[in-house]
Amino acid sequence: GKRLTDMPSVPQELVSKLLHLHFKDKKTKGVFLYLSSPGITAEAAIRSVRQAQAEGLAHVDVEQLEKVLPQLLLDF
C-alpha cells in the first residue's frame, strides 16, 4: 500500500493547537514531531474502504465506519 509518509499530513501548527486545547497545565509545551502523521485518520479511512469493498459497495457510508470503529479504537 501507500507509504504513510507520502500521505498529506496535518500542518504542524494545527497539531500544536489541538494538543494545547487539552493540556491541563498551562506550562506544558513541546515539539510534536511525529504527530502530524495520518495516524488514526488514515487507518479509519482505509479500514472503512476495505469493509465497503468486502460488502461489494462502491461507496463508503457511515455503516461501514461503524463496523470497523470498535476494533480501530482498541488498536489505538
Binding site: S37, G39, I40, A44, S48, V49, Q53, H59, V62, L69
Partner: protein, 139 residues
Amino acid sequence: MMEEEEWSEEQQRFSYLQRLKAAVHYTVGCLCEEVASDKDMQFSKQTIAAISEVTFGQCENFAKDLEMFARHAKRSTINTEDVKLLARRSHSLLKYITEKNEDIAQLNLEKKAKKKKKLEDENRNSVESAEAGVEESEN
C-alpha cells in the same frame, strides 16, 4: 456585567473550537480523498464527518497521555521519547516514525556518500601531485 464577559469568553472559546474542528475536518477530507482515489472508492460526507470526530477525539487522548508522560519524567516539555511511548500501542504511528527515520537515514547515507566521494577526489588529486613530487626528488 460580569456575566456578559463570561458569556462572551464562552462564545470565543466555542468559536475557536469550531475553527479547529473545521480545520481538522478539512485535513481529514483531504486524506480521505487520497485513500478514496487510491482505491477507486467514494466517501459519503457523513463518513468524513464521522472520521473527523474520531480524529478530534483521539487528539484529546494523545494530549492527556503526552502531558502525563512528561510530568512523570518531571518535565513540562514534551519530547520525542514521550511520543514514542505513546506510539507503543499505535501500530500506525510506530510505522510512520519508522518510515520517517528510514527517510532521514537514507538522506544521511546519501550526504555521506557525496562527502566521501568529494574527499576521495580531493585525495586522489593531492596524492597524484605528491607522487609527482617524489619522483622528481628521486631523480
